[in-house]
C-alpha cells in the first residue's frame, strides 16, 4: 500500500543556509505523526514546503499520488490538506464565527457568488465546528480580541472547515498553559479519531508528543535523524544526544 503523503529528497536553503536537507517521509492514511526538533531545526519550513507556502529547491512531495511541488497553497488545500500555523494566523477584525464561515464558503467554492449574503451561509456547520473546538460561547466576539489559547483553537476550527483528509498542525499548543495544552491535545486526538484524519504535527512539548503520536520523526539542522515508533525514537542514541538529553522533557 502506497503512502498517503510521500516526501523524498526534499531540499530547501535560504541564502546558503540549508533549512531542509534531503528529507524523506512517508505518511500512511490514518497515522498520527509528530515532527520534533529543537527551535530552528526546520519544522516550520518543512510544513511550508508541503503546503505550497515555499517551493522546494529539490525533491518530491506527493499526496495520494498527486505531485504537489509547484502548486500554490489554495490548490493544495482543495486536494485535502489543511494546516494551522505556529504563529496565530486568523482574520483579526472578523468575528470568530466569520473566521470559520469564510473557510466553509471557500471550501464550497462560493467565494465567487456575488449575490448570496455571505453571513447567511453555512451557519449550522460553522456553529458545529465552533462547538467542536470549544468556542461556541465566543462566536460573536472579534477574533483579534480572543485570548492566545482561544485563537489557537480558532486556527484549528478554520483548518477543519476545509474538510481535510490530512491535517498539519504547526505547534498546536505553543504558548498555551499546561491546562490548555492538555485540553487541546485531548480535543485534537478526539477530532482526528472521529473524523478519520491523518495528522502530521510539530510540537516542542515532549509529554504531548509521546502521548498521542504513533510515529515520530526528529528533525535536527534540517535533517531527519530518526524516524519510527515513540519507544524506538526515545531510545535512539543520536536523538538522545541532540535533543532529549539537552533540553530535557519540556522544550
Amino acid at each position: 500500500m502506497s503512502a498517503m503523503l510521500s516526501i523524498a529528497g526534499l531540499w530547501k536553503s535560504f541564502a546558503g543556509f540549508v533549512a531542509t536537507r534531503d528529507v524523506a517521509l512517508d505518511l500512511k492514511a490514518g497515522e498520527v505523526h509528530a515532527v520534533i526538533g529543537p527551535n530552528g531545526a526546520g519544522k516550520t519550513t518543512f510544513f511550508n514546503l508541503i503546503t505550497g507556502h515555499l517551493r522546494p529547491d529539490k525533491g518530491a512531495v506527493s499526496f495520494e499520488g498527486r505531485d504537489l511541488v509547484g502548486l500554490p497553497p489554495q490548490k493544495i488545500v482543495r486536494l485535502g490538506i489543511a494546516r494551522s500555523f505556529q504563529r496565530i494566523n486568523i482574520y483579526p477584525r472578523l468575528t470568530v464565527f466569520e473566521n470559520v464561515q469564510v473557510a466553509l464558503i471557500a471550501h464550497e467554492g462560493q467565494q465567487w457568488n456575488l449575490f448570496r449574503p455571505g453571513r447567511s451561509l453555512h451557519r449550522e456547520a460553522t456553529a458545529e465546528l465552533l462547538e467542536l473546538v470549544g468556542l461556541a460561547a465566543e462566536a460573536a466576539e472579534t477574533a483579534g480580541e480572543l485570548s492566545y489559547g482561544k485563537q489557537k483553537q480558532l486556527e484549528l476550527a478554520i483548518a477543519l472547515a476545509s474538510q481535510p483528509r490530512l491535517l498539519l498542525l504547526d505547534e498546536p499548543t505553543a504558548g498555551m498553559s499546561p491546562q490548555e495544552t492538555a485540553a487541546t491535545i485531548a480535543s485534537v486526538r478526539d477530532i482526528v479519531k472521529a473524523r478519520g484524519l491523518t495528522l502530521l504535527f510539530t510540537e516542542h512539548d515532549m509529554a504531548v508528543v509521546f502521548g498521542i503520536a504513533e510515529r515520530i520523526s526528529v528533525l535536527h539542522h534540517g535533517e531527519i535523524i530518526a524516524s519510527g515508533e515513540p519507544d524506538a525514537v526515545r531510545n535512539d542514541p543520536e536523538v538522545k544526544r541532540v535533543y532529549l538529553g539537552e533540553g530535557g522533557g519540556h522544550g
Binding site: 500554490p72 494546516r83 466569520e98 471557500a106 476545509s162
Partner: protein, 309 residues
Amino acid sequence: MPQRRYLVASAIVVLLLALLPLAGSRYAVDLATEVLIYALFALSLNVIIGFTGNISFGHAAYFAIGGYACAILLTTYNWPLLFALPAAVVLAGLVAAVVGYFCVRLTQIYFAMLTLAFAMLVWGVAFKWKEVTGGDDGFTGIKLPEMLAHHVRFFYFTLAVVAAGVAALWVICHSAFGLTLVAVRENAVRAGFIGIDTRRMRWAAFTVAGTFGGLAGALFGMYHRGMYIENAYWTESANVLIMVLLGGIYSFVGPIFGAAALHLLQTFTNQYTPYWPTVLGLILLVIVLVLPDGLIGLAARFKARRGKT
C-alpha cells in the same frame, strides 16, 4: 433583523431626497445631484480600499473613461442613452479588468503607484487624442435626451441610477464574495490556505470598482454637459480617496458620508475663501491624527461611550 432596518433607513433617505425638488431651490437640487454622483464614486473606490486593503491612487481613470465614453457615444455617435450609458460602464469595467490584471500582482505602495501610472496614461490619452476627446479644451456640448434636460428631471434620473448602483454594491459587498474579500484583506496568507486565489479575488474587486466608478463618471459628464482632462487627473483620484478615508473604510456607508461631507464643505468653503486646499490639508490632518476610521468610526466611538455611562 438589522437587514430590514437598513432597508427601511435607505428607503427613507431616498424618499427624502425625492422630496428635495419641492423646496424649489435649483441650487439645492444641483448640489444634491453632485453629492449623489460623488457618493457612488467614493463607494466604488472603497471596494478596493475597504474590501481588499489596498489603496488606489488612480480611480479617476475609470470615472473619466465612463464619463468620456458616455459623452462621446451620446454626442459624436448619437447613440440613445439606453445604450450609451451601459456601454460606457462596460468599457470602464473592461479597462479596469485589464489594468487590474497587472496591478493586483503588487500590493501596498507598489500597487498604489501602478494604479497611478495607469491613470496618468488615461489622462494622457484624453489630453492627446484631441479629435475624439477634445483634448485640453474638454469634451463639451454633450447631447442629453430631451427628457433629462431639465435639472429636476436629471436629479431624479441620478437619484434612481445612484440608488440602483448603491444597492448593487451593497449586495456585492455583503455577498459570499464580499465576505471572502474581507478575509483576503485581513489576512491574505490565511485566505490562501483555505483555498482562496487571493489575486483573482482582488482582480475581481478591482473590476467591480472600476465598473461602478465608470457609472459615476458617466453621470458626472452628463450632469456637467462636458468632460475635462482634469477629471482623469491624479487630483481627482486624490479627492475621491480623501472622501473614502474621511467617511471610513471599514463601513459600507462610510464613503457616502465622506463624499457628502467633503463636497459640501468644499462648496461652502469656496463661497467664503479661495483657500480650499488649506482647508483640505487640515481635514487630512484630522483624519490621519484623530479619525483613522473616519466619520463612521467617530460615530461608533460616541455610541460606545454612551453605552458605557
